[in-house]
Amino acid sequence: MSLAAEAFVSQMAGKIPFIHVGNQVVSELGPIVQFTKAKGHSLSDSLDDVQRAEMKAYMELVNNMLLTAELYIQWCDDATAAEITRPRYSSPYSWPLCLVLAYQKQWEVRKKMNAIGWGGKSLEQVYEDVSQCCQALSQRLGTQPYFFNKQPTELDALVFGHLFTILTTRLTSTELAERVKSYSNLLSFCRRIEQTYFEDKSS
């Protein structure tokens, strides 16, 4: 599919990631998982009720803490916002629209942070929260290859996505990546998934 067509479809869906199957466009992780489940492919069928409850809870933990922390660092930390986020967000648009949209997005994100109670946090506190979340994930993972032992599930995909992004995105400081790296089992988890599922294609 050409790039232009991709961009058009992404605008229709409104949100990325999305998959385009035939006539349907499904965006965001939750609906994509449901879609593939309806087609008969599900990763969590072998889990019992209690494990499924735990899996959903940990997925919300990742959404609640890691996603919010990523948003905070991108938009509420002045240094990062000015050097990296605003230029990147406003790059497709011409001046002065780029300024307006970037500041509008920043304002919107800051309002959301206030509404969920993260407005008063300092950067150090946010790093602490990320550490706490990683500690919880690390304890849950333990020495197993995946979160629910032998088979990867949606939770593994979500955690990989977030941690890989944190480890590979260039930010103004490497503190966040360092904090994640301090949990060795999470680091080896990310490397293992990258090698098993992504490097096969390129080799």
């Binding site: 209690v50 304890q139 849950r140």
Partner: protein, 327 residues
């Protein structure tokens, strides 16, 4: 032993120690951990040190408002209900608390503040009745706008969708969350073992209002009642840790009431006599001043009485003259 710290929370009603989720969470945790707090139950958020409730005024003169901050502070003071949890159980706690905040809390906000029938019949009426006079006209509306905005931001959308779709989606998420909690609780008394911890406090804080407060649109309540272990969990905590709150009105009220039933809860308005007297006085004052100003009523000043000024020789002169004339 340090002096007890002061905790300000919303008043209780409907058989609950407080009507607010965050206040209930903090109260429950304090009970579980045995923290000696001086609890002030108020209905005027402006009297709290931070302007909002719950608020904890610490001995170091700091004011904390978020339940998680208050719990962390109490833990540092050695009141730790999570002491016996293993590392994995601690991690699970964190995960389930996130689940509640992402999936259940938006539905609670919707059901109390956004659904029009619930808001008008129960929420707004309760706050307007319980807040002192000028605030009761202004604050409920302001809280309504704040909660609407909060729901919109939590869902990350530009505009709230039309109500039916939104309600269905929120109910589906909340029902799933409650089912997951029910599966995790199973037949146990508390989520981790025989004694309650912070997760139990959060679950109680969020579910007890759903169980106890009767809304016209009661889908959430019906679903919770169908999950017997969860509703039993809430009732158990109320019985064990908050035994004095019940459906009966608080014992401080001097006027004896007939046997209270659930329907009496709506009539329990504080300061009823004072409000009635005040409204009668204001009405009479308004009527009198209208009558005087339009001339319907004129007040004559030629009356003798105890309130007359002592030097009244001058006004008396014309009278004596008249009397002489009459003779």
């Amino acid at each position: 032993m340090a002096a007890p710290e002061h905790l300000f929370v919303w008043e209780g009603d409907f058989g609950l120690p407080s009507v607010s989720t965050d206040c209930l969470t903090v109260l429950a945790y304090a009970q579980f951990a045995g923290a000696p707090l001086k609890v002030h139950k108020i209905s005027n958020p402006w009297r709290s040190p931070s302007g909002s409730l719950p608020a904890l005024k610490t001995n170091q003169n700091e004011t904390l408002t978020r339940p998680s901050d208050i719990i962390i502070h109490l833990r540092k003071q050695k009141f730790n209900a999570d002491y016996d949890l293993s590392a994995k159980e601690g991690a699970d706690s964190l995960a389930f608390i996130s689940l509640i905040e992402e999936k259940l809390l938006p539905a609670l906000i919707y059901w109390s503040w956004v659904d029009s029938k619930n808001f008008v019949d129960v929420t707004r009426r309760w706050f307007a009745d319980h807040m002192p006079f000028p605030l009761s006209l202004v604050l409920p509306g302001r809280m309504h706008r704040y909660q609407n905005e909060r729901l919109r931001l939590l869902r990350g959308e530009d505009l709230l969708e039309p109500e039916e779709n939104l309600e269905k989606e929120l109910f589906r998420d909340a029902a799933e969350c409650m089912n997951l909690l029910s599966q995790r609780l199973g037949q146990h008394k508390f989520f981790f073992g025989e004694s309650p911890c912070s997760l139990d406090a959060f679950v109680f804080g969020h579910l007890a209002p759903v169980l106890k407060i009767k809304f016209p649109n009661s889908k959430l309540q019906q679903h919770l009642q169908s999950l017997e272990n969860l509703s039993g969990f809430c009732s158990n905590i109320l019985q064990l840790y908050f035994p004095r709150t019940g459906p009966a009105p608080p014992p401080m009220r001097p006027s004896p009431r007939p046997a209270p039933s659930a329907s009496d809860d709506g009539d329990h308005v504080p300061h009823k006599r004072r409000k009635q007297l005040l409204s009668v006085l204001v009405a009479m004052g308004a009527m009198l001043s209208y009558a005087v100003l339009t001339g319907l009523l004129s007040i004559s000043l030629h009356q003798r009485g105890a309130l007359e000024e002592p030097p009244d020789e001058e006004p008396e002169e014309p009278e004596t003259h008249e009397q002489e004339h009459e003779r």
